[in-house]
């Protein structure tokens, strides 16, 4: 579904962000992207629907989505297939009402008004926010705004969901609801996060990014229990990783937890 080949990117200020990224994600996979602050996670996500890269002179390499290379010509089709959810819902929700925001993507795709209404309804029911259509974003709680932010891309019916820090700032219940919601969605998913418990609960596969490179890529269960790998890249395994079904601590040297 997503193929990234030799992707490098340098910000206009000269600050390098990505350094030869290679990554292939199959349809239906849910993949976590973890790594310390400044590892290039957000920069990578912005490449997936052509916000960065493409025609820019600051990058080299190739991103293909569903077999289509992301470039200036294809970028608008790619944006319909890849839904990007930003970390801060106040950036994502810029319309005066919830309805208008969820309708923004479908309207830009040129859909008929009746179809747009159907899609808004469907997207809002997928995130359990039906009935909030006429509410204003600043009147919603952070958890509600995060859900609406996801609905604003679901209404475009994308094949791929790309989420930046979806659980940041949520209280435990809102966080749990969000994880349940994301697990239930059928889309291919790429999630950049520091929330290792979310990684554990949602993504069978994890990619560790550091210094703009992929330093590890494999099964979440293996990578997260590799204490040295976690430590080297400023990460931390969640408690769940060391708890077996019997409920006892299985891993050696888990005293630090």
């Amino acid at each position: 579904m997503i193929e990234i080949r030799n992707l490098s990117f340098v910000y206009p200020g000269g600050q390098p962000a990505l350094n030869g990224i290679n990554l292939t994600i199959k349809a239906g996979e849910k993949v976590a992207v973890v790594g310390p602050n400044g590892a290039g996670k957000s920069t990578l996500l912005l490449h997936l629907n052509g916000i960065l890269g493409g025609s820019s002179a600051h990058g080299v390499g190739q991103v293909r989505v569903g077999g289509v290379e992301v470039n200036a010509r294809s970028v608008r089709q790619v944006r319909a297939r890849v839904g990007l959810v930003f970390q801060n819902p106040d950036d994502q929700l810029f319309s005066p009402t919830v309805f208008e925001d969820v309708a923004f993507g479908p309207l830009n795709m040129g859909l008929a008004v009746d179809e747009v209404r159907v899609r808004v309804e469907r997207a809002l029911s997928a995130v359990a926010m039906v009935g909030y259509e006429d509410r204003m974003p600043h009147h919603l709680s952070l958890g509600e705004r995060k859900r609406v932010a996801i609905a604003t891309v679901l209404s475009m019916e994308p094949d791929v969901l790309v989420l930046d820090e979806p659980s940041a700032g949520l209280d435990p219940r809102a966080r749990r609801n969000l994880i349940a919601l994301l697990r239930a969605l059928p889309q291919t998913m790429l999630v950049a996060t520091h929330d290792m418990r979310l990684v554990w609960a949602l993504c069978p596969r994890t990619v560790v990014l550091d210094g703009g490179r992929v330093v590890a890529d494999g099964a979440t269960a293996e990578l997260l229990t590799d204490k040295r790998l976690m430590e080297r890249h400023g990460l931390e395994a969640p408690l769940e990783a060391f708890v077996t079904d019997a409920g006892c601590v299985a891993a050696e040297g888990s005293d630090g937890l």
């Binding site: 912005l46 629907n49 916000i51 608008r76 944006r79 319909a80 890849v82 839904g83 990007l84 930003f86 801060n88 106040d90 950036d91 994502q92 929700l93 810029f94 319309s95 005066p96 009402t97 309805f99 208008e100 309708a103 923004f104 993507g105 309207l107 830009n108 795709m109 008004v113 747009v116 209404r117 006429d134 204003m136 974003p137 600043h138 009147h139 604003t152 891309v153 475009m156």
Partner: protein, 266 residues
């Protein structure tokens, strides 16, 4: 955070609340136009116009004292603009000082036009605040769109409205962070010069500006990633009712009567 003070709309279900937003917008514009074009000393017509405004407020079931408070907010600005009028109009000199070979003074006609401008400005603001009190802001934006107000204006107002609250929150956070560290020693007194304090405040304002700038970039990215290409589409759902026709006719006749009264009956 909730900012009820910044949220003009009050939920209610009066006839005025239910009227088509397009009609309300047009009627408000017509009212303001009528108020501003009345001759300066058409007191009878101004009284009639005030009566129209009072009637509108009564029908809308909005608290009159609240409307009065809201309408008075803009009065100082109107006053500033009208301030030169008493000094610049010809007429009987009421009070004056000799400045070289010229006289700076207040004339009776000047004073009259000053007062009538104040009244006109106040009535206009009163009716405009009635509009935003009885119409949800998003609906008002949709009405502007339906009435073909230039898109760029609607977008500016829309973003202003959406991010006003976000910016106020950010400013409050900065202010709180400063307060939290504005301590004093037990010996009393506070340190730092006035200049330093001003510099700190300047830094806060600058930081708010930079944050807003960075935010605008992220918003634009969010718009792009959902297919924005410069076009802005909206789904407006206005349905013109018979009562809108009646209300529009009534308002039109009322305003024309005021104008005729003001121009012909002096």
């Amino acid at each position: 955070m909730q900012h009820t003070a910044l949220e003009p709309y009050r939920v209610a279900n009066s006839l005025i609340h239910r009227l088509d937003a397009r009609l309300k917008l047009l009627a408000t514009l017509a009212f303001v136009l009528a108020a501003t074009t009345l001759p300066p000393s058409a007191w009878g017509a101004l009284a009639l116009l005030s009566l129209v405004a009072v009637l509108l407020i009564v029908v809308s079931h909005t608290p009159p004292m609240m409307m009065l408070r809201r309408s008075l907010v803009a009065l100082p600005f109107v006053g500033m603009i009208a301030l030169t009028l008493p000094f610049t109009r010809d007429g009987q000199l009421l009070w004056g000082v000799q400045l070289g070979r010229r006289v700076l003074g207040i004339t009776d006609l000047g004073l009259l036009s000053f007062v009538s401008m104040l009244v006109k400005g106040w009535l206009s603001v009163l009716v405009a605040s009635l509009l935003v009190t009885t119409t949800p802001f998003p609906t008002l934006l949709q009405a502007m769109q339906a009435l073909r107000v230039p898109k760029i204006l609607i977008l500016i107002i829309s973003f202003m409205y959406r991010y006003l609250f976000v910016l106020v929150d950010e400013a409050l956070c900065l202010q709180r962070a400063r307060l939290a560290r504005s301590a004093a020693r037990s010996t009393g007194g506070s340190g730092g010069t006035l200049l330093w304090r001003i510099k700190v405040l300047g830094g806060m304002i600058g930081s708010l500006f930079i944050r807003s700038y960075a935010r605008s970039e992220r918003i634009y990215q969010a718009m792009l990633s959902r297919g924005y290409d410069g076009q802005w589409f909206a789904v407006a759902h206005f349905r013109w009712q018979p009562r809108d026709t009646w209300a529009g006719l009534l308002m039109g006749i009322g305003l024309v009567a005021v104008m005729v009264f003001g121009v012909c009956v002096r």
